[in-house]
Amino acid sequence: MTTANTEPTAVPGTTEPRLGEELLKVTGLTKHFPIRKGVLQRQSGAVQAVDGLNFTVTRGETLSLVGESGCGKTTTGRLLTRLLEPTSGQIIFEGRDISHLSEGRMRPLRRDVQMIFQDPYGSLNPRHTVGKIVGAPFKLQHVKTEHGVKKAVQGLLELVGLSPEHYNRYPHEFSGGQRQRIGIARTLALRPKLIVADEPVSALDVSIQAQVVNLLEDLQDEFDLTYVMIAHDLSVVRHVSDRVAVMYLGKIVELADRKSLYEQPMHPYTVALLSAVPVPDTKRKTKQERIRLQGDVPSPINPPAACRFHTRCWKAQEICRTTEPPLLQLAPGHQAACHFPENQPQDKPVAPAPSSDTKPS
C-alpha cells in the first residue's frame, strides 16, 4: 500500500534486504494510558494517546510524523522503539512481531532500532565523558570492535563532524548543536537499521539546525538508514521526508508522499496546518488568506466522537459527528481520513462514498 519515494537500489554483493522493502509495519497500534483515581486506584478513564495507527516504513525512506502537541507523535515513536508497550495492535519489524517482547528479548533488537532525542542537554549523562557515552552501546551489546572501542568511538565522532580529541571531554563543554552530534554518534554506533528521531533539530538554532539536517541526510545516504522523524516544524519536515503522516489526537488523518501532501493536502486539518506556517515572505500576507482554526486541540482523555477533528473543522457536517471516516487511499500514494476531502482528483470518486453531497473542491 505504500509507494516509497526513493528509487529501490540494489546493494551489490549482499544478502541484506534491499532498499524499498518493507522494514516496519504497524497495524492497529494503540496506546491508552490509564487514569487511576481514589484509594483503590480504580481506572476512571484513559488518555487515548495513540488510537489505531496503520502504516509501514520502507527501507531507506524517511517517514515523518507531524502534528501539534498532544497528537501522539512522541508516544508513537516510543512505541516503535518499544520504550513503551502498546495497549493493542502490532508492530512488525523485519517480519517479527515485537509489540509485546519482554525487555530481555527486546535487547538484541535495540541494535537495529535506535532513537535520537529532542533535548541534547537531557539525553546525555553529564557525569560521563563523550567517549563513555558514545561507547556505551558497544559495551551494552557486547560488541567487539576491530581496533578497540576507543578507535570505533573516535571514528564515530569524526563521522558526525566532531574531533576525535573530544573523546575525554564532558557534555557541558559542548554547544547544543555539538551535543546533538554526540547523541547522533551514539545512535549510529551499532549501525541501526531504523532510527526514530524525536524532534532532532527543534532545540537548535537556525544555522545549527541546517547543519544537523544536512548531517542526518548524509548519514542516511552513506549507511542506507531508515528514519522515522517526529517533528512539528512543517518546513523542516518537507525538507527531510519522503512521506509524511499527519496526526491529530492519536490518529493519522493523512498519509502521503511529500510532494502530494504539500501540494495537494486533502484533509482539512493538513490544509489548516500548512496555511498557518509563517513564511519569510512579506508579500504573502496579502496573497493568501490563512485558515484560522478556532480553539485548541481537545483533550485526548475525552476525544470528540467520530471524526476527531469535527469540533474545529469548517467543513464538518452531520456525518462527521456520527461516523468516523476511515483512512482511505484517495489518490496514488495518498491516504486521508475525511468525509469531505479537499483537492480530490476530479476523475476518481471517493472509494465508498459516505454521503451524496461529497463535492470535490
Binding site: D205, S207, N214, S235, H239, V279, D281, T282, D296
Partner: protein, 338 residues
C-alpha cells in the same frame, strides 16, 4: 520626536570567566504604530536588549551604559522606582514561556487586577470587570468564569493569551514580545500573531517582536533588525531584508531555513561553525570566522569592526564588503540557491 530611541546601548555582565558582552553598542529607534522585529540566534543579545528597555536587569549583575529614551524620558539613568512607574503603564512585555512568567499561586484574574490597580486608582470590582473585558478581548472563552482560574488550568495558547491580556491591561504604548509564539503549536501561533497584529492596530502601540523565526517577523514586522554577537548587522524594512538582504549572516539565515512556500532545496546551506562566545568575541567583524566572504576584504574583517552604515533608502548594514561585491555575491552566489 521619536517614540523609542536606543543609543549605543551596552550591557555587560562580569562573570568569573570574564566579561560577557551581551549587547555591545546597539542603536535603533521605533515609532508609535510600528513593529520592529529583532532577529538573531541564541546569544545574539536580543532578549538582553528588551530586558534593558524594561529595566528588568538585576542591579549589580549587569553593567548597562548608553541611552534609552521612551517618549523623551531617559531610562538607563532613571531610578528603579521611576522605571517601575513606567512598566506596565507605558511599556509591557510578553514572555516566551507563560507558565513560568505567571505566578502559579494566584488566579489569572488576580494577576491582571494587580497590575491594573498599581497604575489606576480603582476599586477591586472595577479592576475585575476590566480584567474580564481584557480576557474577552484576547479571545478567551467564558472570561467571567476563566478569570478565577489558575495558570495551570489554561492550555499553552490560552495562557499566552492571558499574558497578552495582562500586558495590555493598561494600554501600554510600547509592547515587547520576546519569542511570544515559540512554545506554541503552529495553528495557535497563527492565532496569537493575528491577535498581536489586531491589538496593535487598535491601540496604535509600538511593538518590538523578538524571535529567531524569520517567518514570524515577516508576518508582523515593518522593520527588521538582524543581530549577531550583541550588535546589529543589518537593519531595514521587512521587504528589503527578504528581497535584497545585504549581510552575509542574513544570507546564512535565509539559506539555513527550509521554506514551504518555494521549491524544495536539494540541500540546505548552513552557516559554518558555531556562534561565538560572548566573552571572546572575534576581533573585527564578529562574524568573520563563519563568513565565506571575509577574505575578500584584505584583512579588514579580522581587524576593523564594521559600522552599521546606510546603503541608501534606510537600509543599514555592517559589513566591509563593497556595495558592488555585495550585490554581486547576492545575485550570483546566494539568490539562485535560495
Amino acid at each position: 520626536m521619536t517614540f523609542l530611541e536606543v543609543k549605543d546601548l551596552r550591557v555587560h555582565f562580569p562573570t568569573d570567566d570574564g566579561l560577557v558582552k551581551s549587547v555591545d553598542g546597539l542603536s535603533f529607534s521605533l515609532e508609535r504604530g510600528k513593529t520592529l522585529g529583532i532577529v538573531g540566534e541564541s546569544g545574539s543579545g536580543k532578549s538582553v536588549t528588551s530586558l534593558s528597555i524594561m529595566g528588568l536587569h538585576k542591579v549589580g549583575t549587569a553593567r548597562i551604559s548608553g541611552e534609552i529614551y521612551l517618549d523623551g524620558e531617559e531610562l538607563v539613568s532613571a531610578s528603579p522606582a521611576e522605571v517601575r512607574a513606567l512598566r506596565g503603564k507605558r511599556m509591557a512585555m510578553i514572555f516566551q514561556d507563560p507558565l513560568s512568567a505567571m505566578h502559579p499561586y494566584y488566579t489569572v484574574g488576580n494577576q491582571i487586577i494587580e497590575a491594573y490597580r498599581v497604575h489606576n486608582h480603582v476599586s477591586k470590582q472595577v479592576a475585575r470587570k476590566h480584567a474580564i473585558e481584557m480576557l474577552d478581548r484576547v479571545g478567551i472563552p467564558q472570561p467571567e468564569k476563566r478569570v478565577d482560574a489558575y495558570p495551570h488550568q489554561f492550555s499553552g495558547g490560552m495562557r499566552q493569551r492571558a499574558m497578552i491580556a495582562m500586558a495590555l491591561s493598561c494600554d501600554p504604548d510600547l509592547l515587547i514580545a520576546d519569542e511570544p509564539t515559540t512554545a506554541l503549536d503552529v495553528t495557535v501561533q497563527a492565532q496569537i500573531l493575528d491577535l498581536i497584529r489586531d491589538l496593535q492596530r487598535e491601540f496604535n502601540s509600538a511593538v518590538i517582536i523578538i524571535t529567531h523565526d524569520l517567518g514570524v517577523v515577516a508576518e508582523l514586522a515593518d522593520d527588521i533588525q538582524v543581530m549577531y554577537a550583541g550588535r546589529a548587522v543589518e537593519y531595514s524594512s521587512a521587504e528589503d531584508i527578504f528581497d535584497r538582504p545585504q549581510h552575509p549572516y542574513t544570507w546564512g539565515l535565509l539559506g539555513s531555513m527550509p521554506r514551504i512556500d518555494q521549491e524544495r532545496l536539494e540541500r540546505l546551506i548552513p552557516i559554518k561553525g558555531t556562534p561565538p562566545s560572548l566573552i571572546n568575541v572575534p576581533s573585527g567583524c564578529a562574524f568573520h570566522p563563519r563568513c565565506n566572504y571575509a577574505r575578500m576584504n584584505e584583512g579588514a574583517s579580522e581587524t576593523e569592526r564594521p559600522e552599521l552604515l546606510d546603503t541608501g533608502d534606510g537600509h543599514m548594514v555592517a559589513c566591509h564588503l563593497t556595495p558592488a561585491k555585495r550585490q554581486h555575491a547576492w545575485e550570483t552566489d546566494i539568490k539562485p540557491k535560495l
